[in-house]
């Protein structure tokens, strides 16, 4: 059935309009016709036309000029030019101006039939391509990363800024802070998003295997290499290579990696063929790389090559304002996957969660919520549902002097409120001037 495809015939000759209209109608197309540019533009305002057959020579505005106007109204219309006298010059001009094809009158019926079918196929593919791109954009949106604290807002800004470029990015942060999620967000917002992001955990593999994983290997390169295998570098061609735990790479592989990042070419293990690749590098580490450089366990040249644009993800204890948001997000996530009608966290359980230091960061918080969702009963997570080691409160601030307690409490309240002085003073039930004095006395500084 073609009744979802519309064709507009624009030609000053009535016989041409009539015969084409009739021809297309028998194929169940929605067909319209216009005898000049003004009439065609009017028809274009009235509805969307998928395919437009356009006579090049018409009195008044000619087909070429009309094509420009059509593209301004609907850039997705497929335009096919018709002419009485075929000439290479006109054909080239038409195709350069963005026409789909060019036909000379009279047209072979078989050719016209194929041309229209090809135009429909091309439109379908273009539409499908657009839909897939939209789906990919939807999947890789930055808003997968949860956080409303000032520190996380800063991280989002950095992601937006660096994503559009091809700069090498180093993501630093404690274990469990979501470094891979940040890497995926950068890739998902970059021009490379339609190509793969290939992640490799450099810390999890022994050096020999890491080398083979990165560079691939030829058949017979080592015992057990029965087949040629592409490495992560080749797989990342066109996209992004994410090197997690980059600080744990051995010295030999560091050298090889540096060469690839600089030249964008390499050979597979046991091979001589030079392979060219085009990828963006994003790496992550929780190791003190500066110290590793000083100790000589990490190459200085590689360090400078990787450390071009740094994003530091703050640990969860420094952005406590995000804890309720994250906890509720995980509750919702697991309620859905487990089919359990738990919708929230009780206030005392949430209070404990906020006070806890979360040494394992978001990963630990997620695990805690998941466990609580398993053992908990609807409608909310209670304090006793939280993991035992968690309720041991070993990571709660240690008891000390009254001043130390006051200082810690002020730090927590300020962090919870993104350093909003008025709101923090209100919670602490002191006035703003007193709070400023206490901040100064304890030497507190807003995190950058």
């Amino acid at each position: 059935m073609n009744n979802d495809v519309s064709i507009l015939v624009v030609d000053d000759e009535k016989v041409v309009r009539d015969s084409l209209t009739k021809w297309f109608r028998e194929d169940e197309f929605i067909v319209g016709s216009a005898e000049n540019a003004a009439e065609a533009l009017k028809q274009l305002q009235a509805r969307r036309w998928d395919i437009i057959l356009l006579d090049i020579k018409m009195p008044g505005m000619d087909g070429m000029e009309l094509q420009k106007r059509i593209k301004e109204i609907d850039c997705t219309s497929t335009i096919i030019f018709i002419t009485a006298h075929a000439s290479v010059d006109t054909a080239v001009q038409a195709l350069k101006a963005g026409a789909f094809d060019y036909i000379a009158k009279p047209i072979d019926p078989d050719y016209l039939s194929h041309l229209i079918q090809n135009a429909i196929k091309q439109r379908k593919l273009a539409g499908e391509n657009l839909r897939l791109k939209e789906q990919i954009s939807e999947i890789s949106k930055v808003d997968e990363i949860i956080g409303e604290s000032t520190q996380m807002k800063k991280v989002f800004e950095l992601i937006e800024t660096v994503a559009k470029t091809d700069t090498t990015v180093m993501i630093r942060g404690e274990s469990g802070t979501g470094k891979e999620l940040i890497a995926r967000a950068i890739h998902g917002n970059s021009e490379r998003r339609y190509f793969p992001i290939v992640a490799i955990n450099c810390g999890a593999l022994p050096e020999g295997i890491l080398e083979s994983e990165l560079f691939g290997h030829e058949r017979g390169a080592f015992t057990g290499a029965q087949y040629r295998r592409k490495g992560k570098l080749e797989l990342a061609d066109g996209g992004t290579l994410f090197l997690d735990e980059v600080g744990n790479i051995g010295v030999k592989t560091q050298m090889d990696l540096l060469r690839v990042i600089e030249t964008k070419q390499f050979s597979r293990v046991g091979g001589n063929e030079l392979i060219k690749v085009d990828f963006r590098t994003i790496c992550a580490t929780n190791r003190d790389l500066e110290k590793a450089v000083q100790d000589g366990t990490f190459r200085e040249d590689l360090y400078y090559r990787l450390n071009v644009f740094t994003i530091v993800i703050p640990p969860l204890r420094e952005r406590k304002a995000d804890i309720p948001l994250l906890a509720n997000y995980f509750v919702k996530k697991y309620a859905q996957s487990m089919g359990k009608p738990i919708t929230t966290v009780s206030s005392d359980a949430m209070d404990l969660m906020i006070r806890y230091n979360w040494p394992g960061n978001i990963r630990e918080l997620e695990n805690a919520v998941e466990r609580a969702m398993v053992v908990g009963k609807p409608p909310c997570i209670k304090i006793q549902d939280l993991p035992i080691q968690f309720t041991d409160r070993e990571n709660l601030p240690a008891l000390g002097s009254l001043a130390a307690m006051e200082k810690n409490h002020i730090i927590e309240v300020l962090a919870m409120n993104n350093w909003n002085i008025s709101r923090s003073a209100e919670i602490l039930q002191i006035d703003r001037v007193t709070l400023y004095n206490k901040i100064e006395r304890y030497g507190l500084k807003k995190p950058q």
């Binding site: 016989v15 015969s19 084409l20 028998e26 009158k105 009279p106």
Partner: protein, 179 residues
């Protein structure tokens, strides 16, 4: 309501040749078919610059010649037909209308440099007549390769089709309001 189909034969094929074709058409459309030897003045549709006959002009002439009636009328000719935008056509019809025209000119094997085959030609003529009449009854082109309503832009495609409507087009024909 369509009461009959009249075929005005101005081609070199005899009325007797078309008897079998008439039976086939009757089976498809369930109305009596009558073949008459006609004297259409086809010269009026001749285009000297293209050395072909304008099928739309021929249809107007067929309509004028057939007079008023409830039936369909189809002219069978053996000259090369065209519509202005296309290089040639096998036939043309008024969609959901009264008249149609079919030419045997490009249906003969001789046109393609092959040996004459009267049985094949008879089949091709029958298929094209049913196809064009189908349009006058309001049927669109069909996607099924073997349905007679499948659009054919070269003769081998006509040979691939059956002489019948596919079940889907038959159903549509029954459901269509009679033009």
């Amino acid at each position: 309501m369509t009461t009959s189909i009249q075929i005005i034969n101005t081609s070199s094929h005899s009325v007797l040749d078309l008897e079998h074709t008439c039976n086939t058409i009757e089976k498809v459309f369930h109305v009596p078919v009558d073949v008459v030897r006609g004297n259409l003045n086809i010269d009026r549709a001749f285009d000297a610059s293209r050395r072909q006959y304008n099928s739309t002009a021929l249809i107007s002439h067929i309509l004028a010649s057939s007079g008023s009636g409830d039936g369909k009328v189809l002219g069978l000719v053996d000259v090369d037909l065209f519509i202005p935008i296309l290089t040639f056509i096998f036939g043309e019809a008024q969609f959901s209308g009264t008249a149609a025209v079919v030419s045997s000119y490009r249906l003969t094997n001789q046109f393609y440099g092959l040996e004459a085959d009267s049985i094949l030609l008879r089949e091709r003529i029958a298929k094209e007549i049913i196809h064009e009449l189908g349009h006058t009854f309001g049927l669109y082109h069909c996607r099924h390769f073997d349905c007679v309503m499948k659009s054919s832009t070269y003769v081998e495609e006509i040979d691939l089709k059956n002489v019948d409507l596919c079940p889907s087009c038959s159903e549509k024909l029954l459901a269509l309001p009679t033009p």
